[in-house]
């Protein structure tokens, strides 16, 4: 018990010292916050996000900082738990006095963190959440550097239909996950029907739950429907289970899904089954800015303990890099002072910068934000086959077309 007390008190003191030091330096540095899931089921994403942000911090400071001030990114782990994410937001905005926050990653965490961002009047931008309408419900301080799945499907579905000559498709989805459910039960059936493709089980899509290891019964049922293509509503780690099982049962049909499918891991699940999904970044994409980013980040990721040796930068690393870069751009261009007494005004300036963003160059081209707080940017419909992604169509998420 005594040891425990000591440990606790030690921890408290360390925490107090760290935050004290940050406040003392606040005069000559620019503070940005980040909420990432470095422990729990998405630890890998959170840890690679952390490495990405550390790299960005070093890049900026090596180049002379932000308007002469040092960039300081305060990174907090939410363990993918919504309540911890919301408290992280309170700590970053209230105690650490950051100008703006990047994160959180999951949609569940965004749902409870975005209202806090509005309460505390601090911009926060999620690097991954794509559940429909989450930023829209939390205007004006919440943004997401992700594209509405409904818009993406309008480009990915016609490509899929044409390429594979699909006449009828069947749906399987993760019923425990909100994004997957909305992609598979709301977005895809409508878009496929519009494209003249029959959705065999549109009324009763087959579901499983996050964490299920066995989806053999679901796949057997899919197979019995005799579809030309499979719609998978799931994040890539669950989708891998489904694709493995499809291969095992000999259901070698092309797969289509939303952005949550994008990862290098899914390419290894069954290389001979083509996977079509929309992406705004993938590690082998052919664009100078992205190539440089991957070349710098990949070795850092692979040398970090707690991350696998063959890891590649993910779309969420690219997104969070863009988010913090935008904030830095906002500080430089919109007269943010970084002084404690101007904190409220500075935060408002960053929000206005984000809302009126024009011509910021991200990895896929120019980025700006729509009325609903979601990013409008170029995206690629990519096809994964034989272990690599390849861009098949390039589109823009703006209502009219061009970005």
């Amino acid at each position: 018990m005594l040891e425990m007390h000591k440990l606790l008190i030690g921890g408290l003191m360390t925490a107090a010292l760290v935050s004290g030091a940050q406040v003392a330096q606040a005069q000559n540095q620019v503070n940005i916050g980040a909420i990432v899931p470095s422990s729990g089921p998405f630890a890998e994403w959170g840890r690679s996000n952390t490495v990405t942000l550390k790299m960005l911090e070093k890049e900026v400071n090596d180049a002379g900082g932000v308007n002469g001030a040092k960039l300081n990114i305060v990174i907090l782990d939410d363990a993918a738990k919504p309540a911890q994410a919301a408290n992280n937001m309170r700590k970053l905005a209230g105690d650490d006095k950051v100008l703006a926050v990047a994160g959180p990653l999951t949609s569940s965490a965004c749902e409870v963190t975005f209202p806090v961002a509005n309460e505390l009047k601090t911009v926060t931008t999620s690097q991954a959440s794509s559940k429909p309408g989450v930023a829209k419900a939390n205007r004006p301080w919440a943004f997401r550097n992700t594209v509405d799945e409904g818009i993406l499907a309008k480009t990915s579905v016609p490509y899929f239909t044409k390429t594979f000559g699909a006449k009828q498709v069947a749906i399987i989805y993760d019923a425990k996950d909100a994004v997957s459910t909305s992609i598979a039960t709301k977005i895809m059936p409508g878009v496929f029907t519009e494209a003249g493709v029959k959705v065999i089980n549109g009324d009763a899509p087959i579901s499983f739950n996050t964490g299920d290891l066995d989806v053999s019964a679901q796949v057997t049922k899919l197979k019995s429907m005799n579809p030309d293509g499979i719609v998978i509503g799931a994040d890539y780690s669950q989708a891998i289970t489904v694709i493995r099982e499809m291969k095992r049962q000999g259901l070698m049909k092309p797969v289509i899904g939303g952005t949550p499918l994008i990862s290098s891991a899914i390419l290894k699940a069954a290389p001979e089954i083509p996977v079509v999904a929309p992406a705004t970044f993938y590690s082998t994409m052919d664009a100078p800015k992205a190539k440089k980013f991957v070349a710098n980040l990949q070795p850092l990721l692979r040398n970090t303990s707690g991350l696998p040796k063959e890891i590649e930068p993910s779309m969420y690393d690219a997104n969070i890099y863009e988010i913090v870069s935008m904030y830095i751009d906002a500080v430089k261009k919109s007269g943010v002072t970084g002084k404690a007494e101007n904190l409220d005004a500075d935060r408002t300036k960053i929000r206005d910068y984000m809302a009126n963003l024009k011509g910021y160059e991200g990895f896929s081209g120019a980025i700006h934000f729509g009325e609903d707080g979601d990013a409008i940017k170029n995206f690629f419909i990519v096809q994964g086959q034989n272990g690599a992604w390849e861009t098949k169509v390039t589109g823009c998420s703006a209502a009219g077309g061009g970005c």
């Binding site: 422990s39 729990g40 089921p41 998405f42 630890a43 890998e44 994403w45 019923a175 009763a204 087959i206 579901s207 499983f208 739950n209 964490g211 299920d212 290891l213 066995d214 053999s216 019964a217 679901q218 057997t220 049922k221 019995s224 780690s237 891998i240 289970t241 493995r244 099982e245 291969k247 095992r248 049962q249 000999g250 990862s263 891991a265 290894k268 699940a269 303990s305 707690g306 991350l307 696998p308 890891i311």
Partner: protein, 292 residues
């Protein structure tokens, strides 16, 4: 499709059987819910993966993973259970929960949180009988499950160690008076429990060939339901209840109700608890006087 679904259900059921038996050994004998069993299962899977990835054959993977899970199970017994043996049953249950958190964290830090996949197609071979496609690994899973259940049944029912286990399950104080070594027997229960969880982990991870550090959580809860339905007094109960639940799940999915699957499994479990608390196969109940 029906036959194919039966095969699917039997394979899933085999997994449930092994994990349920793992729970049941500790619970039936010591009346303690070892929550970390889900994580022993997960750990077995990761160890098995590591062995296969370094080009060693399946039997080696099985043995190493079983030994690894067994060792951790014994550590749990020594630290989390033994000192709290006389405490109310919630306390050891929560200390095993502590271990399940620790194990998830350690595995995440070693192997990452992304699904670990087998690099090659080592175990994807299959053959067809009429309309039914059976995988090589499915046969291995079902076969090894039957062998392990039989071995445990033999141990519990036919050996001196088994008599000691049953004596303790019946009444610990009386068993001690009769000269049964409670310490050794408790260790044995945890050890076998770990062996079974480890074996289940390897089989499943190689069969489904994609695992994450959090796979133990849901399988663990399901296995508790299977344990209850089979009853903790008879080893063979798990072999009956596992496939029963596996097939019930598969049939719910096949005939329209994939969303209500969990609802049905847990509903069935509660029904059994109320109508036939000693489980399908019956037998005496060991915990009637247990206080929390």
């Amino acid at each position: 499709m029906l036959l194919q679904q039966l095969v699917n259900g039997l394979t899933l059921g085999a997994v449930y059987t092994l994990v349920a038996l793992s729970f049941s050994l500790v619970m039936g004998i010591l009346s303690v819910l070892n929550i970390a069993i889900g994580e022993l299962f997960m750990l077995g899977g990761f160890i098995g993966f590591a062995v296969i990835a370094s080009q060693l054959p399946l039997p080696v993977a099985l043995v190493v993973a079983m030994a690894g899970a067994c060792t951790v199970s014994i550590i749990i017994q020594k630290i989390a259970y033994e000192p709290l043996r006389d405490a109310p049953m919630i306390t050891p249950m929560l200390s095993t929960l502590g271990f399940s958190i620790i194990l998830q964290n350690i595995v995440t830090n070693i192997w990452g949180s992304d699904p670990l996949q087998l690099p090659s197609e080592l175990f994807d071979a299959d053959f067809t009988i009429g309309p039914v496609r059976i995988g090589f690994m499915q046969l291995v899973v079902i076969g090894i499950t039957i062998v392990l259940v039989a071995a445990v049944a033999f141990l519990v029912q036919r050996t001196a160690a088994g008599r000691a286990l049953r004596a303790i399950a019946e009444n610990r104080d009386v068993a001690r008076l009769l000269g049964v070594s409670v310490d050794k027997t408790t260790l044995l229960a945890f050890g076998i429990s770990g062996l079974l969880a480890g074996a289940a982990g390897v089989l499943i991870s190689l069969h489904y060939s994609a695992i994450t550090p959090y796979i133990g959580v849901d399988i663990g809860l399901k296995a508790i339901a299977v344990m209850v339905i089979g009853g903790t007094a008879r080893v063979w109960g798990a072999l009956l209840a596992g496939p029963l639940i596996g097939i019930a799940e598969v049939m719910t999915i096949a005939y329209g109700g994939s969303q209500i699957r969990d609802f049905i499994v847990y509903g069935l479990m509660i029904l059994i608890l109320l109508l036939r608390p000693q489980g399908l196969l019956g037998g005496p109940r060991s915990d009637v006087g247990q206080r929390v």
